[in-house]
Symmetry: C2
DNA sequence: AGACGATTAGACATTTTTGATCCATATGTC
DNA sequence: GACATATGGATCAAAAATGTCTAATCGTCT
């Protein structure tokens, strides 16, 4: 099979916990090589720099997370439950693994500084998936956007913004869950289809 | 009160978890200063070097642990229970805090390399306390060393050696507890007073 | 055995970080 | 004001990290 991909994956598997434990700055290529049980020289055969390695890891993590997000939206259930699950997957995939603590901030900073494109692309894709889900829900009359005089694109942006705001102000634990639940309840009320308004 | 002592204690309080988390090598004076919420310059007003700071922390930790060991031996109960508790206190005080993992080894190495006198003195004191406890137990006829044809000093040395060996071969978790329990049972049998042999 | 690619240890120059010191400037305290 | 103490920043030597390179080693294949 593709040996290079498998090799880099093994390295990234070993590197992730090291980055999580020590942060980007305190993690050395020697640390990663030791964790991956290869030599430092071999590390540079797969990745040309520490930054490139980190970017690859960040990309893989984002891809994996976005797959979970998409799966959550594709499952059955109400549009609200699916969006809630998608948001939870997004948060757990990109925040929780960096176990809340001293390193979380430093790692997040490194991510947005060294690989801003990856993080931004993931956000764009999340927005896109939400727009698609909301559009379909509107077509099937599960939700009604006429009351709010809005569109799927605008509403999806609000959802993402709310997610960000809730995460920022509150912590990342059960408080975040509560905030999301409240917001989703609000969304449900605002988009409830008006019975007997379907047509003439 | 003694302001310098209190100040250094505050610094050591802040430094210990940093050392535990990152190990000696990866911990910088800037890290410690940040954790203690003082400036690097102030740090050097209390400790002349990183090594001196580490030694002070190690010494304080050893003192605290040895107090617990002494307390365990001074409590009531059989000599075997008290020795078992003392050994457990010794292990938990100097090993467990360095949460089992990557840093434990590095920290232990730093301790025996940067402050070998402190560790050795603690061991000597442990031996001394055990000798005293065994001597008193012999006086009160709780144990009988005649069967083994030995003395408190020799027996205490064996206890320490066994503790070391068990810790070294087995891990530090419940396996250590089992090993100690077995050894103490052996010790109990070997030192059981011979009934009706007290004297003419 | 010999050839081959992959992997490695190790030396290396360069850049970055850290340890440690110093000073000029706050920040209170008497 | 006089005094002690804390701080940020400049500074310099020492240590460590990055990234490159070469020679040696290893395993595999024929």
């Amino acid at each position: 099979m593709n040996e290079t991909a498998s090799k880099t994956d093994l390295i990234l598997d070993a590197a992730l916990p090291v980055f999580v434990r020590f942060g980007f700055r305190k993690t050395t290529m020697a640390d990663i090589a030791r964790a991956a049980k290869i030599s430092r020289a071999s590390l540079y055969l797969c990745f040309n720099s520490k930054e490139e390695l980190f970017r690859a890891g960040s990309k893989r993590e984002h891809l994996s997370t976005m797959n979970n997000v998409k799966a959550a939206l594709d499952r059955s259930g109400s549009i609200f439950d699916r969006i809630t699950a998608a948001i939870r997957a997004f948060q757990e995939g990109l925040i929780t693994p960096f176990g809340g603590g001293h390193n979380a901030e430093e790692l997040f900073a490194a991510s947005t500084e060294l690989a801003p494109d990856i993080a931004l692309e993931a956000r764009a894709r999340l927005l896109d998936l939400l727009i698609k889900a909301l559009s379909e829900a509107e077509k099937t009359r599960e939700i009604d956007l006429a009351t709010l005089q809005t569109q799927p694109t605008e509403l999806a942006a609000l959802v993402v913004a709310a997610m960000d705001g809730i995460k920022h102000t509150r912590g990342a634990g059960p408080e975040f869950e509560g905030g999301i639940r409240l917001f989703m309840a609000l969304l449900k009320l605002g988009t409830a289809p008006q019975l007997g308004q379907a047509g003439p």
